[in-house]
């Protein structure tokens, strides 16, 4: 034991050092290691989850982009089909309308001709009647005057050559 004393080993100090270390150990374990290691573990899990989520989101985005493209292509095709249809129907209608107009014109023309003919005939008839009347009147006027032989002869010669 004298050797221990010569080396500076002292029971009281030995115990004090041991207690000091034990207290340090206990405090660090309770307030440092446990919370910190738990925290680090939790964070590792969280980061892993985050990376996984990011990967999943990226995949989803890619899939959605593909889908979007497909939808756009479909929409464009549909639009083109609609335009083609509209064009065709417009053309058809144009043709129809053209035909109709022509028919109408023809009809109008025909009507007009008929009317013109009718009017013509009417006018002719009327004119004939008026002329006849006029002739009668004028004849009557002429006849009301004294017709001598000479005049008669002159008239006959004038109108009946």
């Amino acid at each position: 034991m004298e050797v221990l004393a010569k080396l500076g080993i002292d029971g009281k100090l030995l115990l004090a050092q041991a207690v000091n270390f034990a207290v340090l150990f206990w405090v660090l374990r309770r307030f440092a290691y446990k919370p910190m290691l738990d925290f680090l573990e939790k964070r590792t899990v969280r980061i892993e989850q985050g990376l996984k989520d990011a990967e999943a989101a990226k995949e989803k985005l890619g899939a959605m982009e593909v889908k979007e493209k497909a939808v756009l292509v479909d929409a464009r095709k549909e639009a083109q089909a609609i335009i083609a249809l509209a064009e065709a129907s417009a053309k058809k209608r144009d043709v129809e309308r053209g035909a109709e107009t022509e028919a109408k014109m023809k009809r109008l023309l025909a009507d007009a001709q008929v009317k013109i003919t009718e009017e013509h005939n009417k006018a002719l008839t009327q004119a004939k009647a008026e002329i006849g009347e006029l002739v009668v009147l004028s004849v009557e006027k002429i006849l009301r005057e004294k017709i001598d032989v000479a005049k008669d002869k002159e008239l006959i010669e004038k109108y009946l050559p």
Partner: protein, 251 residues
């Protein structure tokens, strides 16, 4: 200049003599608790500053412990002791390198009548009381860990082997050697740490007295390195002994 193997007494509280090494031990403990718990009380999700340093140390230590135990649960069980040994021994070793080592202290007249200084600063590891206390704690913990893992009978079979089984007698002798080696562990732990750190302090003190400028510098670097290595060695050996104690005897 006076070199003493024992830590020098500064004053005493009641019957307890307070040596410079013990005082430094208390200060180092307080500083460790202060700085580490300040971070671990409220760790932020995005680490910065001191938290980075502590995270790096903790993760490196945990990885080391896991690589030896090959078992996550056991690693969490061993981690506190390993980490405390590493952190405390490392800090204690490095504190001894601060300026003031062996030069700032109480004036004192020794028995021969020479006026000397009792320095305030002395590494805790340069005191056999501390290294012996730590070795005892370690070796006793190792025994209890072994008993807890294997049960007292199976653990006892590591040391007490019947001479009537296969290797006849040889096994028994090996068992006794194992038992002695447990005692040897205490001594080797104690003197390895003490020897390295104390030798470093003596070397630096002598250098400082011979050539005060620049010459001690390379030795300072060396001692920084030695202080780190000794902390790692102590922690590593503790870890290996703990792991070995939990393995079942092969026979």
């Amino acid at each position: 200049m006076e070199i003493s193997i024992a830590a020098e007494k500064l004053f005493s509280i009641g019957a307890l003599p307070i040596t410079n090494a013990f005082l430094i031990g208390l200060v180092v403990s307080a500083l460790l608790i202060f700085f580490i718990t300040r971070v671990t009380k409220r760790p932020s999700l995005v680490p910065h500053g001191l938290q980075n340093v502590i995270e790096i140390i903790f993760e490196a230590l945990l990885n080391l412990v896991e690589s030896v135990t090959q078992d996550k649960k056991q690693a969490r069980q061993f981690f506190p002791l390993i980490a405390t040994i590493f952190l405390f021994v490392l800090t204690a070793n490095w504190v001894g390198l601060l300026p003031g080592l062996g030069t700032v202290g109480l004036s004192h007249v020794n028995e021969a009548g020479h006026a000397t200084i009792i320095p305030f600063l002395r590494s805790t590891s340069a005191d056999l009381n501390f290294t012996l206390a730590l070795s005892l704690i370690t070796v006793i913990t190792v025994q209890f860990t072994g008993i807890a893992a294997l049960g007292i009978l199976k653990y006892g079979q590591k040391f007490f082997i019947s001479p009537f089984h296969k290797p006849y007698g040889i096994g028994t002798a090996v068992g006794i050697l194992e038992l002695v080696s447990e005692l040897g562990k205490i001594i080797s732990f104690t003197f390895r740490l003490f020897g390295n750190v104390f030798a470093g302090e003596v070397l630096l003190t002598v250098m400082l007295h011979l050539v005060p400028y620049f010459l001690p510098l390379p030795f300072m670097f060396l001692e920084v390195f030695v202080g780190f290595i000794q902390a790692v060695v102590f922690a590593m050996l503790t870890l290996v002994f703990l792991k070995m104690a939990t393995l079942a005897p092969e026979h």
